[in-house]
């Protein structure tokens, strides 16, 4: 990890020194991270791809302002989150549908889905397209404030401090939102997973224990 950071720092120094081509190499490990972050916010492939390109271009143009006191990935993801939020606002304005944004901290039922005989769904189940789609859909249907925290914390594995800073909210607020996001996902997905994966069937169930 430390070596990666040193390598990155060296790349950045050389890019700023005029070897612009090295920027391709610098961002290659983060292509997917940037796309997934924006896609989760915008929920549209074409828009997310265009936005991801813009993020990389902006990162190149503003590379000099990267101070190196945070990780490059954190810096990049913050740019991605801002781009995603900005575009979402634009889309919403166009659609005159800003309802979602006004739901700041909905009070509600955050009790989890109850079940007793839960058996772990194996990772092999991800080979099924419907399952991957269902997982993405569940994330997409989270209200925006929960999606944002979820993508940074649980998909991109940023820590609490980085997440709160990237979103401009307090650490306790980030924590509450993440908790709710996870509970909502559990509630949406667990009944589906139980019904639709082979692990549930008693015939196959033993295979996955």
């Amino acid at each position: 990890m430390q070596e990666d950071r040193q390598h990155e720092a060296e790349l950045i120094r050389r890019i700023l020194g005029g070897e612009a081509d090295l920027f391709h190499e610098l961002i290659r490990p983060y292509e997917k991270m940037v796309y997934v972050t924006i896609f989760t916010i915008l929920r549209n492939e074409t828009e997310a791809e265009d936005a991801a390109q813009e993020v990389m271009i902006n990162a190149f143009r503003h590379l000099k302002s990267f101070r190196g006191d945070s990780k490059f990935s954190t810096w990049l993801i913050t740019i991605a989150m801002n781009e995603g939020r900005q575009r979402l606002r634009k889309i919403k304005r166009a659609a005159e549908d800003s309802l979602e944004d006004t739901i700041e901290e909905p009070e509600g039922d955050f009790t989890p889905a109850f079940l007793t005989d839960w058996r772990e769904i194996p990772l092999e189940a991800l080979e099924r397209k419907e399952l991957r789609q269902k997982l993405r859909q569940a994330v997409e249907t989270l209200p925006k404030i929960y999606r944002e925290v979820f993508v940074l914390r649980d998909l991109q594995e940023m820590n609490q401090e980085e997440t709160a800073a990237a979103l401009g909210i307090s650490i306790p607020a980030a924590k509450v939102r993440l908790h709710r996001a996870r509970m909502m996902l559990q509630k949406t997905l667990v009944p589906y997973l139980k019904e639709n994966t082979p692990a549930r069937k008693s015939f196959f169930g033993r295979l996955f224990q």
Partner: protein, 88 residues
């Protein structure tokens, strides 16, 4: 102190992220030993998180990387300037 199910749910996040004090963690584990429902909620939440975060769950559009680097190529001919705001 005996924890109720509802209190256990409130601690799911800290439990999964290993942010609990050893005392509270021990209380929760004691509860989990005797409560099948809470164990299932915890395991299923953890399972959902693992599945969602798996590399296969999100796919890049076909040709994404090439289009990205092609577009960048045009921009890289410019010199990076002393830009300031986007990432700060």
């Amino acid at each position: 102190m005996k924890l109720e199910c509802k209190q256990v749910w409130e601690h799911i996040l800290e439990y999964l992220d290993q942010q609990l004090t050893p005392e509270v963690r021990a209380e929760i584990e004691k509860h989990l030993e005797n409560c099948e429902a809470c164990s299932a909620i915890l395991d299923s939440t953890r399972n959902v998180l693992i599945l969602t975060a798996d590399n296969r769950t999100y796919e890049l559009p076909v040709g994404y990387s090439k289009r990205l680097h092609d577009r960048l190529e045009m921009v890289l001919r410019e010199k990076p300037d002393s830009g300031n705001t986007s990432g700060d």
